[in-house]
Subunit: 112 residues, 2 copies
DNA sequence: TCACATTGCTTACCTTACGTAAGCTGCTTA
DNA sequence: TAAGCAGCTTACGTAAGGTAAGCAATGTGA
């Protein structure tokens, strides 16, 4: 969809669909945001995201690794998880989400 | 996190978390993208998104309406769903996702 | 006008994903 | 050497999603 907007269909893109399912899957956002914020250790990420369990963090990190978004690093004795270049490239997405999150909270404020 | 990066915690934000769960919930992305592409009718959106069922589309549209992202319009006999201003403001997010989707597909291509 | 199709839903049922809790191995510190 | 933490895995119940059918209201065609 560019200049000559027609309200037709065919605005579906499987690559987009997959990407937003990866980013938007439950807990994926806060996990990746924690890692963009500099956290690399399992327990640091878990402790930074309220409600996130070991099980889900483990599951997400594994699938991120399989996708090439995160790299599991066992060079030192401590295990570290690092964002790959691909992983770091989600930052603009999250910046845009932050902007929208503020708008959303104006219209539909969070409880508390 | 800005210039003076410290790999500390406290990069968790509940507004961000909520926003990315709304956008990233299953099917939400493709539904909103279809609507940004100009589709307003239930069956047009459903037919544009492969795999999306009536049940889920109905459920998502209802929750979008409750959040103020979508407006249900019954002025004419045909029912139309329109993005509100808030809804239209997700566009920058989706633009950023599209860019990342291309990067992701280079590293982890989709099957077929 | 009477059968048939379409739109925008809802309901019922089963499967997959997630929440919760416990446990377990390897290493460290007291 | 007992206790503790980090990074997992396993087991089990609940919630979300997939699949399919149905259904009232309107349109359409013969």
């Amino acid at each position: 969809m560019s200049a000559n907007e027609e309200p037709n269909g065919e605005c579906y893109c499987p690559e987009f669909h997959r990407a937003i399912e990866v980013i938007g899957k439950r807990w994926s956002g806060p996990i990746l945001q924690s890692m963009l914020g500099g956290l690399t250790r399992f327990s640091d990420i878990r402790d930074n995201v309220p409600g996130l369990s070991d099980r889900l963090l483990s599951e997400r990190l594994k699938s991120f690794e399989e996708l090439g978004v995160v790299e599991r690093c066992t060079a030192t004795r401590d295990i570290h998880y690092h964002l790959t270049d691909l992983g770091k490239q989600v930052e603009p997405v999250f910046d845009a989400v932050e902007v929208w999150a503020i708008q959303l909270s104006k219209v539909a404020p969070l409880p508390d």
